[in-house]
């Protein structure tokens, strides 16, 4: 069945986009600037797993946990070393974005210098035969990807709504000045949001590495998809960003059913354009995304 296969593919790729988008959106909502280097953070997660598991032969689960935590620390480091000094000087969002693109180019090329430009495989799972689910062929790994993504979204939702830290984050996202007045340390909140967001990027990196292999320049495509998903759903609103990413997955997969597959990225950009133009705060965005 073509339709069920397309739906299955949309859900799988949508989960990866959504993992990228929810970290991006979390960082955006508490910091109010575009952390474009979130894409290269995903790639760093993947290459860390490659280093610990494939090169250093650590047990897979240990290697994964170490990679995710180090990826989270990379996010905090980029905030502390680059964004915070710029913010303290009163730099505009445009400057922060350019610095962020600088980080992308910097680390993409550092990875290329260290690991080479060729494609790396993790080699943890053997190539599995697809199972037949309602006429769609799906590998066990793809099911695991979907389940991990959904579990993380639920955990993130519970964290943001039930814990004190999560509620403080939402307070900063809503109105950082007011949050400061009632005694919330917004720099600390920024640290946490970069850490949690980048950990999610690390998980996305590991899943991408297992599903599609690794190459240094892959981060750009991922952040563009994550960003597009976030814009579709509303960049300030994490559940919206997740749903937007799944919508993007569906649009891409059904789009290349009609168009040559080379246009996959152009479909994402077409959607991004349409939303920026006609609905810049997204389908579910609460606040206006475009600054007046």
């Amino acid at each position: 069945m073509v339709i069920t296969q397309l739906i299955a593919n949309s859900l799988i790729i949508g989960s990866i986009y959504a993992l990228v988008a929810c970290g991006f959106s979390l960082i955006y909502s508490t910091n109010k600037f575009m952390h474009f280097a979130h894409g290269v953070t995903v790639v760093i997660g993947g290459y860390l797993l490659y280093t610990f598991f494939t090169l250093l032969h650590l047990p897979f689960y240990l290697a994964s946990i170490v990679s995710v935590i180090l990826t989270g620390l990379f996010g905090v480091l980029s905030y502390r070393v680059i964004y915070l000094p710029l913010k303290n000087k009163g730099s505009s969002n445009a400057i922060l974005l350019m610095a962020s693109i600088g980080i992308v180019i910097l680390f993409e090329n550092v990875i290329q210098l260290v690991f080479g430009a060729d494609i790396k495989t993790i080699g943890y799972l053997d190539v599995a035969k697809g199972m037949d689910i309602f006429g769609a062929s799906v590998t066990p790994l793809q099911i695991v990807i979907f389940i991990i993504a959904v579990v993380l979204f639920v955990v993130l939702y519970l964290f943001m709504s039930k814990t004190k830290l999560g509620r403080n984050m939402r307070a900063v996202a809503d109105n950082s000045e007011l949050a400061r007045i009632i005694g919330i340390n917004d720099k600390r909140i920024s640290d946490y949001s970069f850490f949690i967001g980048s950990c999610l990027a690390g998980v996305a990196g590991i899943l991408v590495a297992l599903e599609q292999n690794l190459f240094p320049a892959m981060g750009l495509g991922l952040i563009i998809k994550g960003f597009t998903g976030a814009i579709i759903g509303g960049i300030n609103f994490i559940p919206g960003a997740i749903l937007g990413s799944f919508i993007l997955g569906v649009a891409e997969n059904f789009g290349i059913w009609y168009l040559p597959s080379g246009y996959k990225d152009a479909i994402a950009f077409g959607l991004l354009f349409l939303f920026l133009l006609f609905k810049p705060n997204g389908l579910f965005g609460i606040k206006k995304g475009v600054k007046e």
Partner: protein, 290 residues
């Protein structure tokens, strides 16, 4: 006689001066953070290459390259004129990727990833430009003309209106000026010269493929503009020399090309980040990036 190596660098510097000065019209003078400039550069290169292949005289192809890029510049601003700052930056970056995937996928026209080879060296009114030295003279002349035109436009009342659009768009509208018309004129001028630079690039290299027009190229041009300083033509010219000459030092260390490429990109990225952190107005910028 100048050595071929120096000539090669000088030709590239001239091309990048046109690119940086024309991008400064958008980013510096008008306040449009356009990251899609490379798309115009690429369109210019492809237009000129395909037209001369079809037998059109070079000078016509050169002008068509500019005009075609300018039309796309108008379409881009038509689609994005309500966006500002970082949103505009990402939308225009997206435009870049759309053009890139068109170059890659419209195989009947662009030959896809294989690119277009054997682009003829230009000949103008029967005067063939064969050697690199004569090509350098040709590029230098076009570069001087382009920069002069932009310089005088930016000093004219029109240029001051552009700067007013950047500084206080609503205020200018209150005075009855059509800021959309101003922004689109700025974008059209900016794109036109990028198209011209694309044509000069294509006929110098004689081979183009879509990978010449991707993100690293965007970063290179934007870095030149930021290092030179916004709304400063002098700054962009000096910065083009500095940014293109600095990585040439690497050539003397005799690194293999697999290391040379990434190292060059790392240098550009570090220059960009360091300038933004410690000297955001660059060499002689007059305004901040907003």
């Amino acid at each position: 006689m100048i050595s071929p190596y120096i000539l090669n660098i000088l030709i590239f510097i001239c091309i990048y001066i046109i690119l940086a000065v024309s991008l400064n019209v958008a980013i510096g003078y008008t306040g449009l953070l356009n990251l899609g400039h490379v798309a115009f550069f690429g369109i210019g290169a492809y237009t000129s290459a395909l037209l001369t292949k079809a037998g059109v005289p070079y000078i016509v192809a050169l002008i068509c390259a500019g005009v075609f890029a300018a039309i796309l510049g108008f379409l881009l601003i038509l689609a994005t004129y309500r966006l500002k700052g970082d949103y505009l930056a990402l939308a225009t970056l997206g435009f870049n990727f759309v053009i890139y995937s068109l170059m890659l996928n419209m195989i009947f026209l662009t030959n896809g990833p294989l690119g277009i080879a054997g682009i003829a060296k230009p000949s103008i009114f029967g005067l063939a430009i064969k050697t690199n030295f004569s090509y350098f003279i040709f590029v230098a002349v076009i570069c001087t003309i382009s920069v002069s035109i932009i310089y005088f436009l930016m000093r004219s009342p029109f240029g001051r209106l552009l700067e007013a659009t950047r500084d206080d768009e609503i205020g200018l509208r209150v005075l009855g000026k059509n800021t959309f018309a101003l922004k689109s004129k700025a974008m059209v001028i900016s794109a036109f010269f990028a198209g011209i630079a694309g044509s000069l690039f294509a006929h110098y290299i004689t081979y183009i493929d879509p990978t010449s027009f991707t993100l690293p190229e965007v970063i290179l041009i934007v870095t030149i503009v930021i290092v030179g300083g916004l709304a400063s033509i002098k700054g962009s010219i000096i910065a083009a020399f500095v940014i293109l000459i600095v990585p040439e030092a690497l050539r003397f260390v005799a690194l293999p090309s697999s290391i040379l490429g990434p190292t060059r990109q790392i240098i550009y990225a570090l220059i960009l980040i360091i300038i933004l952190m410690f000297r955001p107005r660059g060499i002689s910028g007059r305004v901040d990036l907003k």
